[in-house]
């Protein structure tokens, strides 16, 4: 009796396993002949997005959020080379001392409700960004502005406190309609879920947590967009975004590199590798006495095998980094790139006076060469970088301990090292002055970096108009930054964009962090 029961049980188990594996096989085997044509309407483009916008208001986004980018537009916009070109402003003049910008606005630009766009709206938008009552995070962009003067309905003059070449970038921020928002509580106004902008698409419907429908602005001043509708579909799970690309329920989405192999086999889809200006570094915080010694910093820079990190941590979706401006016109590739060389690293450590202790860890004056690599625990890529660094440093006798922590539980300016992410595809001033000028210590210069040469070069570069002169200044800055490293540069990240082959008009350009901006020319997109 007992035997037969056990036998039955085993039979059952095997049958069930068999049935389940059939089910799984049915799932995997039929991929290639799945109905992978675009199921969506030919005049409608459906984009899969990971995170929904919170407030449809350009004051509340520092990235160019997809929905906000489609609904709003600014005085300038970025072209294929990420240079600021005219948008709502048709032209501008800059005073010789770089302190005054006069923008001529287009006369044919209208808000989606039909009201004309005027200079008053520009002044209103900047005032709101600087209003401390508004919970905006983009106020810093406008802090160099001393005064905004409305000259006439189509002319606005911006007077600066000091030269600020990034102003033309900053003015790409979406404009807000004064006639709808004047005197309102912008943090909580219903405008934020039912916005009126000047951009290529009008807001139509928003089912929160599901999708948002935008319709073409036929009177768009740069010409009506080709597509009639854009639907932004929120799909938090990367696997589901991949599935919906395959079934044709969405036309484009950024996906996880893990999905690339699978999706590149689907005939109806195109996988593109997009370059970004988003880099990862290990920051040397000068508050810690360890990093006073430049030789130690240089040694650790030599100790990193960046190629291996790109392969191991980023699955090949990235490239080794050597500086903050690699994706900019101001890049200087002739700086010391710290190619992987454990021997040079060891030699520099020996010069700095470090000797191996009994446990193989280097030490100097009785102090072990040991530090923590702090980073955000919620970001798996950063944690993986911290772990990889720890392994590589161990090989030259340096004890680096990965230290993932909950965001908000520590101050970035207080830890020994931090796995930092930064980078911008726009004007080189934007993400160098803030990061490396000593006046920014306590703000964005978390590493307490102070180098007099760098200070002079960065300040001069922002006060200079001529591009070739600026290029020279930024080149020198990069050389100095490499010699006196503030960071151990690790890698620039690539993102994977998957689109239905029916979709045309997509143009590549260097993107911001998380692939922000891939829809930059969306008004030219269409489906056959």
């Amino acid at each position: 009796m007992y035997m037969s029961n056990a036998y039955k049980r085993i039979c059952l188990l095997l049958t069930a396993i068999f049935l389940l594996s059939m089910l799984a096989l049915a799932g995997c085997g039929k991929q290639s002949n799945s109905p992978a044509v675009s199921k969506t309407d030919p005049k409608t483009i459906v984009l899969g997005i990971e995170n929904e916008t919170e407030k449809l208001n350009p004051l509340f986004t520092d990235d160019h959020d997809d929905a906000i980018f489609l609904i709003f537009s600014g005085l300038t916009r970025f072209n294929e080379k990420n240079e600021a070109v005219p948008d709502l402003a048709e032209s501008w003049e800059i005073s010789p001392d770089q302190m005054m910008y006069t923008f001529k606005l287009r006369k044919d630009a209208k808000w989606h409700d039909g009201k004309p766009f005027t200079a008053d709206d520009v002044k209103f938008t900047i005032d709101q960004a600087l209003n401390k009552q508004n919970n905006t995070e983009i106020n810093y962009r406008f802090e160099e502005i001393k005064e905004v003067q409305v000259i006439d309905a189509n002319t606005v003059k911006i007077i600066l406190k000091s030269p600020f070449p990034t102003l033309l970038n900053v003015m790409s921020s979406g404009m807000l309609p004064k006639h709808l928002l004047d005197g309102k509580d912008i943090n909580n106004d219903s405008f934020n879920s039912n916005p009126v902008g000047t951009g290529p698409f009008k807001f139509a419907e928003w089912k929160k947590g599901q999708y948002m429908i935008l319709t073409a602005n036929k009177e768009f001043y740069r010409g009506a967009p080709k597509a009639e509708k854009i639907i932004l579909k929120q799909l938090a799970d990367p696997n589901v975004r991949a599935v919906q690309l395959e079934t044709g329920e969405i036309d484009a989405a950024l996906i996880d590199p893990m999905q690339v192999d699978r999706l590149s086999k689907v005939e109806s889809l195109k996988v593109s590798r997009m370059t970004t200006a988003d880099y990862r570094v290990m920051m040397y915080n000068r508050k810690s006495p360890l990093w006073q010694d430049v030789k130690l910093r240089q040694a650790l820079n030599y100790a990193v095998d960046r190629e291996a990190m790109v392969k191991g941590v980023l699955l090949g979706w990235g490239k080794p980094a050597y500086g903050p401006l690699q994706e900019s016109w101001a890049d200087n590739p002739s700086v010391n790139q710290y190619d992987y060389s454990p021997d040079k690293a060891k030699a520099l450590l020996a010069e700095a006076g470090y000797k191996p202790g009994a446990d193989g860890i280097l030490a100097k004056d009785g102090h072990k060469l040991s530090f923590k690599i702090t980073t955000f625990a919620h970001d798996p890529v950063r944690v993986a970088f911290a772990n990889a660094l720890s392994t590589q440093f161990k090989q030259i006798g340096v004890d680096a301990i990965p230290d993932p922590r909950e965001r908000g539980s520590f101050n970035i300016g207080d830890v020994e090292t931090f796995l930092l992410g930064w980078g911008s595809p726009f004007d080189p001033d934007d993400h160098t002055y803030r990061l490396f000028h000593s006046s920014q210590i306590g703000k964005w210069n978390y590493q307490n970096y102070k180098n007099d040469k760098v200070d002079v070069l960065l300040l001069k570069a922002r006060q200079t108009a001529d591009r070739s002169e600026r290029l020279k200044l930024y080149s020198d800055f990069q050389t100095e930054l490499a010699n006196d490293p503030a960071f151990n540069f690790l890698a620039y990240l690539d993102v994977a964009l998957v689109t239905n082959k029916k979709l045309s008009g997509i143009k590549e350009r260097v993107l911001g962090h998380h692939g922000a901006g891939y829809i930059w020319n969306v008004e030219e997109w269409s489906k056959e």
Binding site: N5, G27, C28, D189, K208, R407, N411
Partner: protein
């Protein structure tokens, strides 16, 4: 009966008060703040001074007791505040999601309980039979399959390969399609949610009935010469259901947050995703609203379970509604 319900509801007021107090202090003692959450993944790009400014604007620089007082004052007037993230009224945000969650979870619970009861009871009645072994095996199998994995596999099979069902969402975009469209979108999430819970319930129902069947009064019923049918239907099943009902009542509240993974995979706009998201972004008013709603569900769930138990077993007279009558044997 009515008196009992009213009394129970009155008792729930201090319960909810304590829940809100504990939740408020716990939530505010967690690391991070809403100003930081606004910046998302690249937090380093926000300056300390901007964080401080936004904290002040939100009133987060005040002593926590004052913050709680303000929140409580609002809550008593029925105002739960505005979500930090999207600026909408918390009540409105929650109410926009509640129906979706209730539909998904009651459908899944109904399906799951119905199946689990029938399977569990059959397995107990035919203990050590083929059926018992199969159901036991399946119960353990379903219990150990991670729900998000089952969700992904079922999407791959039924949406990608077979193309029978939509892969995600609650309706086709634009709302065209009506009731059938809504139902089609419900099939996969309901199925996965039901299957992911059914294992433990099958086991629970089975052991509960076995327990009853081993009681002396079962032997008595047999000795009286009742048929098996009479024994099971009039005596055993009713008694076996009592602990099950209590268990269901207790887990009623997990309806709110329990479906988080399923909601995430199926892009289903329910309260689970909202609650997790509000916790991740430190959206205190929204999170407090969700916690309070969970508290309400606990109270209601237990009340319903008590009423149902009293109906199932007349010996359990509702406390205080009538004088306790001696159990008749």
């Amino acid at each position: 009966m009515l008196g009992f319900i009213v009394r129970r509801l009155l008792v729930s007021i201090p319960v909810l008060f304590v829940v809100s107090l504990c939740a408020f202090f716990l939530i505010h003692s967690a690391h991070g703040d809403p100003a930081m959450a606004m910046y998302g993944s690249q937090l380093e790009k926000m300056r300390a001074e901007d964080q401080a400014r936004i904290r002040t604007n939100l009133g987060l620089d005040q002593p926590i007791i004052i913050q709680y007082g303000k929140w409580l004052g609002g809550a008593l007037r029925g105002e739960l505040g505005r979500s930090y993230m999207d600026g909408r009224d918390v009540g409105e945000v929650i109410m926009s999601r509640l129906p979706n969650t209730l539909i998904l979870n009651t459908a899944a619970m109904g399906l799951m309980l119905g199946l689990a009861t029938v399977i569990g009871m059959t397995a107990a009645v035919r203990q050590y039979s083929w059926f018992d072994y199969i159901s036991t095996f399946l119960a353990f199998l379903f219990y150990s399959i991670p729900s998000f994995w089952l969700a992904l596999i079922s999407i791959l099979v039924f949406s990608v390969s077979l193309g029978w069902l939509p892969s995600a969402g609650i309706s086709s975009i634009g709302g065209e399609g009506g009731l059938m469209d809504r139902l089609e979108h419900l099939v996969l999430p309901v199925f996965v949610l039901a299957v992911s819970h059914i294992g433990s319930y099958i086991r629970f129902v089975r052991s509960s009935l076995l327990e009853v069947l081993s009681q002396d009064y079962m032997l008595l019923a047999r000795a009286k010469g009742l048929t098996s049918r009479q024994i099971y239907f009039t005596h055993a099943f009713r008694n076996a259901l009592i602990p099950v009902v209590t268990y269901v009542g207790m887990s009623f509240a997990s309806l709110i947050g329990g479906g988080y993974l399923i909601e995430a995979v199926f892009a289903y706009p329910g309260l689970g995703q909202l609650t997790i998201y509000s916790a991740a972004t430190r959206d205190y008013p929204l999170l407090m609203g969700a916690v309070l709603l969970t508290g309400v569900f606990v109270v209601i769930g237990n009340l319903l379970a008590d009423i149902l138990c009293a109906w199932l077993d007349p010996r359990l007279k509702l406390e205080g509604s009538e004088r306790r009558i001696a159990a008749h044997g």
